[in-house]
Symmetry: C2
Subunit: 297 residues, 2 copies
């Protein structure tokens, strides 16, 4: 029997908009799925399709071959893994633990060390691709941790992801995600400022995106979020307050590595202002609101 | 006889690396070419192929149906157009003047006004695509100015460019190029900071570019200049000091429009430092030197 068809018991903790789609793919892949979520009602559809409910992260871990988590903040990750009755305490030796939350690289290495001491293997495996990628099962998955555990988890990763890469030891997945968010941060400034300048200069912003979007100034964000800025569509694809969480982690890691990233710092200060102004529940393209304010001031 | 095959006398002023290729395409297109350049020897190949030398910008203008300029700085543009014995003074009524230098939108509108008063039409038509695009004849050409003159010049633009757009009245071409450079400015920070973080975190930078380059963090610059940063290849595609010229124009225009663009300001301060450190003759990807210095400090 190949790895790809071996039936596992997979525990899944965190049934937000991403987690729900990802857990559904695992169930559809023929595995036994055991779930826990703070709000139980979110699990209803999965339970109706055959998943099993467990009363706590520890109870999920105790019965699973592989435990996947995708929760909110690093403090949530720390609690479900390292808290009393948590995953590391309750998992059976040999279990593979996979945190897919975007979280702190430092925490990821700490969990991996404590897990290893109990005969477990922990991978950090944050994703990109958003709710669309989660639903389509083609997320990019950036993995850090033990190569053997990575290979063993691959059939499960394959159900959720398209591009799946082991970027190095524990923490490397989170570091990769941070490098991704750092690139996004200043590129958002690039898009907002270019469109803001265009508006002030009286240019047709849509024509501008078309002209510059395929050349050296082009980016996924200019072509994808630029038109939303132009039309004032600030509906969330990726929430401002989630992005601020990520930027906080990135800045803390950069500071720990004594790395000065002024573009990241600037982006963080602008997104903080956006949250302070009451726009944390909008999409990251709402950064453009600040440039509109500046122009009107 | 269609516009595309009507033979014109085209004047061309400014035979730098871009201008030489562009003028060559016009000659190859069957038009009469009259050239002037500060350093005459740069014209040797064109003269050998049949172009005619003129002793000054004014002498070029006096015999041409269309005059094209692509010189260094706004002060050079001002001199060749508005100086004594310059283009606006010497061109015959009906002549179309096209400045393809990346220059000041304010200057472009001033030239257009003065040209119109003398029965001339002036277009601002800066390009993107670099020496590669100039050689291949597929530059993006961003045009501002009178629609009728734009249409009349189209057969000549077609010889040099691929994507050619009239973005609005005089100055709109330069404004479009500025919006392009503003988008590039902060995206360069994005690429430099992401790769700098990756190096500090011990990630394989080439693998990083591959993983994040096709997702939301992806950009033409990450995929094109990122690998050069990684390998320390700072050979110029686009010179730092030319980029600083453009950023200065963009900042001056933004200030004139009372527009606060903090990402642009930050990029300008970093590129100024790069010039002060002696790297003005390198390519714009040399920005990465600053992050290496910061990491080593």
């Amino acid at each position: 029997m190949s790895m790809a068809t071996e039936k596992k018991t997979v525990g899944f903790i965190g049934l937000g908009i991403m987690g729900l789609s990802m857990a559904g793919h695992i169930l559809d892949g023929g595995h036994d799925l055991v779930v826990f979520n703070r709000t139980k009602s979110k699990a209803d559809d999965l339970l109706a399709k055959g998943a099993t409910w467990a009363a706590s992260p520890g109870e999920v871990a105790a019965v699973s071959d592989i435990v996947i988590t995708i929760v909110g903040y690093p403090k949530d990750v720390e609690e479900v893994y390292l808290g009393n009755g948590g995953i590391v305490e309750c998992a059976r030796p040999g279990t593979i633990l996979i945190d897919m939350t975007t979280s702190s690289p430092e925490l990821a290495t700490r969990i991996a060390r404590l897990a290893e001491a109990r005969g477990l293997a922990a991978l950090d495996a944050p994703v990109s691709g958003g709710d669309v990628g989660a639903k389509a099962g083609n997320l990019a998955i950036m993995v850090g941790g033990d190569e053997k555990a990575y290979r063993a988890a691959m059939p499960i990763f394959d159900l959720m992801g398209g591009k799946i890469v082991n970027m190095g030891p524990a923490g490397a997945g989170q570091h990769t995600k941070m490098a991704n968010q750092i690139a996004i941060a200043s590129t958002m400034l690039a898009v907002g400022e270019s469109l803001s300048y265009a508006a002030a200069a009286g240019l047709d912003q849509t024509a501008l995106i078309e002209v510059i979007g395929t050349g050296a100034a082009g980016s996924f964000l200019l072509n994808g979020l630029g038109p939303k800025m132009v039309s004032g569509d600030y509906a969330p694809g990726f929430f401002v307050h989630h992005f601020v969480k990520d930027l906080n982690i990135a800045l803390a890691e950069a500071a720990r590595m004594r790395l000065d990233l002024p573009g990241l710092g600037l982006a963080k200060s602008l997104y903080d202002k956006l949250v302070a102004d009451g726009f944390g529940e909008e999409g990251t393209q709402a950064l453009y609101r600040l440039y509109t304010q500046l122009a009107e001031a």
